[in-house]
Subunit: 384 residues, 2 copies
DNA sequence: GGTTGCTGCTAATTCGTATTACTAGGTCGA
DNA sequence: TCGACCTAGTAATACGAATTAGCAGCAACC
C-alpha cells in the first residue's frame, strides 16, 4: 500500500526542508521567508510531478482552510424519492462551488437513524470542511444552537427559526480571545413563502373565491409554517386541513378553523396520511372552491381524485401549488402557484458561506422571492 | 471564542495526565496500562460533566486513512439533463459509503472545459481522498494510465479498456514497500452489455425477425462498443446506424454494413444528430423489423416518429432499448430490452475501492449482469 | 574590524490524540 | 539484600502541515 505523500517526501525530492515546501505551497512572501524563484520552481515541479496535496485533516488541525465545503443533508441525498426535490439545490451548490474552486464533501458518514441524520454524533467530521451547508425540511433546534454556540461556520438552505440559545453553556470559563460578538442568529438563505403564498391567495380572492382551504401541515418545519402564515394574512378564516395526528391538536389563529396539524419532525407523508378522496370530500363538503396545497404532489393527487369524481379543474375546483413537488408526479399539467428558487438558493447559500468564511460583513439571513406561476389550475369559481 | 475542550483540559480537571485520559477513553485494558476503577471513574466523571468528545481530525491524523472517498464525474453531477442517469449510481455509492462510515468528496473544483472535467489539471486535488470513484461515459486513456502509473487507488464505474501502460513511469524510484506487483489493469465495476445485448438480439431472431439494426455510436465509449459487440455476435450482418460524423467512417466487422459511427469523446447527441424521422425512414427503407437502440431516449424518439407515420410498435416495428434513458423521456411505455444495474454498480464500486484500500486481494474487474426487461415493444414481426 | 542588515533557508514548536517507552514505588522470592 | 516483577501511572513521541524564531553567509558602512 503506497502511503500518503507528505511534505517531507516532497522536501527530500526537492532537496529542501519541509518548512520550505510549506512556504512555497502557501505562497508565503513575508519578509522572514522569501524563497528565490529557482528554489520555488524546483519545489513546484516536484509537487506537480507527484500530484501532492496537503492532508486536509492536518491542515484543519491548525485551523487552515481546505477549499472544502461540507454538505449536510438531513435525509440521504440520492434516493430517487426525494431526488427531484433536492436536486436543484445541489445543482446550484455545485455550480457555485465550482466557480469558487471548492470541492464538496457529502457527510455520508453521519449515521442514519429513523431516516434522519444528525450532525452531532460521537464522531462528527464537520471540521474537515471549512464550513458547511445544511439541507433538510426540518433541522432540530439543538443542532442549530450547538452549531452557533461552537461558532462553526455554516449556512442553512431554507429559513430556520432562531433556537433559544442557552447562554449558560460553558461553565468551565470561556477562554475568550477578543471582543468578537457572537452571531446570535442562524445564517440562512431561504425562500419567501409568506409573501408568495399571500400573493397567490390574494389572487384567488380577486378572482372571486370566498371559501378557501390550506392543505398541508402548516407547522413543524419553518417552510410549512411560513406558507400557512402567508395564507392566514389574506384568509384569516380559511380552512386548514393538516395531517392526521391526534397527538397535538393545534388551535393556531383565533377563530380559524384548524383541523389537526402536527409534524413529528420528519417529512410529512402525502396529504398527512389521508386518502385524497377523503380530503377532497371534506373540502367539497365545506364548500371550498380554491385549495392551496403545500406540496405540488399532493395537489396532483387531489386533481386526480377530483377528475375521478367527475369534476373539472379549475372550473369546479381551483388548485394552487405552494411550491414544487417533493416526489415524482405523473401528468404534465402546469399548476398555478409558485416555484421555489431552489437552484438560486443553493448558489446564494454557497456565496454566503464563502462570505462568512472570509470574514466579510454581510447580512446573514436572506430570503429570495419565489417565482409566481400563472398555470392552468386557478380560475374564477364556476358560479361567476 | 470558546476554544475546543481537549484531553489536556480533562486531564487537568481530573488530576491525571493526558495519556491517562486517552487510555480511559479508549478503554485500553492492555497489560501495559491498567487503570484502577477509582481513577477511571474520576476521569469519566469529568468527561461526562464537560461533554467532552475527541476531535475526530486528530484521531484520524494518526491513522493512515481519512475515511474520504472521492467521486470524480467527467460531467457535472447535478444538472438535470444527466441527473436521471447519474442518480442511481450515486444512490448506490452513497448507501455503501454510509455503511462504511465514509464521507464523499465531490471534485467540483476540477475546472470544466468543453463540458468535461479532467482529473489531471495543474492543481488536482485527488489525493485529498483516500481513493476515488470515476464516473463518466468516456474516460480518456491518458487519464487512466496516469492514475494507474501513479498507483492512485481508484475504481471506475463502468468497464474501461486497459490503456497501454507506459512502463517508464516513475523514474524517481518508486518507494516500494513490499514486493507487491503493480496492478496492470484498470479496476472497474461494469455492466455486462455484451451478454445482455446478445441475449435480447437472440430473442428477436427467435421471434422471427430477420432484418435487424443497431442504432447508436457503437464505438468510442466502452459501453457503446460492448453493446455493438453483443449485437454482432448474434447478428453479424445486421445494419448499424451510427451518428452523423463524416470525419471517421468506420468499417468494423468485415462484411457488416456499418453506416458511419464515431464519437468525439463527449456524450453522443440524440440519435447522433439525425432527425428521428430520417432515421426511421432509412430503417424502413432497409426492411428492418427490429431496432436495437443504445439509448432508451432514442428509442422513444423513434417510437414517436413511427406513431406519427401511422405505424404500430411492436407490430410494425419492434424497438429494443439497450439500457436506460440518458435524458428524460415522455410517455410511460415499458421498453423491451434491459436495465443497467446502476445502483448495484455504485455499491460494488465502493466495496471494491474499500477492498483495494485495505490491501485485500480481490479481482479488480467486475461485470454485473443487466436485468432483462420483457416490456411491450418487442414482438414477432407482423408477417408471422 | 565590528556592527548592522539582508538573503535564504532550517530547527523547533504547535494543533489534539494515540501509542510506546519508561519510571517510581512497592511486593515477593531466594 | 538484591533482583525480578508488578502496579499505576507519566513523559516522550508520532501523525502532517504551518508558523515562529533563529542561524549562517555575505555585503555594506562607519
Amino acid at each position: 500500500m503506497t502511503t500518503r505523500l507528505t511534505q517531507r517526501d516532497i522536501a527530500r525530492l526537492a532537496k529542501v526542508s519541509q518548512t520550505t515546501v510549506s512556504l512555497v505551497l502557501n505562497n508565503r512572501t513575508a519578509a522572514s521567508a522569501r524563497i528565490p524563484a529557482e528554489t520555488r520552481d524546483r519545489v513546484l515541479k516536484v509537487i506537480r510531478e507527484t500530484g501532492y496535496v496537503a492532508d486536509p485533516l492536518a491542515r484543519r488541525l491548525l485551523q487552515q482552510r481546505n477549499q472544502i465545503f461540507g454538505v449536510f443533508t438531513y435525509e440521504p441525498v440520492f434516493p430517487s424519492a426525494s431526488a427531484d426535490f433536492y436536486h436543484p439545490f445541489l445543482n446550484g451548490i455545485e455550480e457555485s462551488a465550482e466557480e469558487l474552486g471548492c470541492d464538496l464533501l457529502l457527510f455520508t458518514s453521519a449515521p442514519v437513524t429513523d431516516g434522519r441524520r444528525l450532525v452531532f454524533h460521537d464522531n462528527n467530521r464537520l471540521r474537515i470542511a471549512d464550513g458547511s451547508l445544511l439541507l433538510g425540511r426540518r433541522i432540530p433546534a439543538e443542532e442549530l444552537s450547538r452549531l452557533v454556540a461552537e461558532k462553526y461556520p455554516f449556512v442553512s438552505v431554507g429559513r430556520r427559526d432562531d433556537p433559544d440559545l442557552p447562554e449558560a453553556d460553558n461553565p468551565a470559563g470561556r477562554r475568550g480571545d477578543g471582543p468578537r460578538r457572537a452571531r446570535a442568529t442562524v445564517p440562512y438563505v431561504g425562500a419567501d413563502y409568506v409573501t408568495a403564498t399571500a400573493t397567490v391567495t390574494a389572487r384567488a380572492f380577486a378572482l372571486g373565491h370566498e371559501r378557501v382551504a390550506f392543505v398541508g401541515p402548516g407547522e413543524g418545519a419553518e417552510s410549512s409554517a411560513d406558507r400557512l402564515r402567508g395564507f392566514r394574512q389574506i384568509a384569516p378564516r380559511g380552512l386548514h386541513l393538516g395531517p392526521v395526528d391526534p397527538s397535538r391538536q393545534s388551535s393556531a389563529a383565533s377563530g380559524a378553523e384548524d383541523v389537526g396539524g402536527a409534524d413529528d419532525g420528519r417529512a410529512a407523508p402525502a396529504l398527512g396520511g389521508r386518502e385524497p378522496t377523503d380530503v377532497l370530500a371534506e373540502l367539497l363538503g365545506q364548500g371550498v372552491t380554491a385549495v392551496f396545497v403545500e406540496d405540488l404532489a399532493d395537489a396532483a393527487s387531489l386533481a386526480e381524485a377530483a377528475t375521478a369524481r367527475g369534476l373539472t379543474v379549475p372550473d369546479d375546483l381551483s388548485l394552487v401549488a405552494l411550491g414544487d413537488a417533493s416526489r415524482p408526479v405523473a401528468g404534465d399539467a402546469e399548476y398555478s402557484g409558485f416555484h421555489i428558487p431552489r437552484k438560486e438558493m443553493g448558489r446564494q447559500a454557497v456565496g454566503l458561506l464563502e462570505a462568512i468564511l472570509s470574514g466579510e460583513e454581510r447580512e446573514t439571513q436572506q430570503l429570495l422571492s419565489c417565482e409566481l406561476v400563472e398555470g392552468s389550475t386557478l380560475a374564477a369559481p364556476k358560479g361567476l
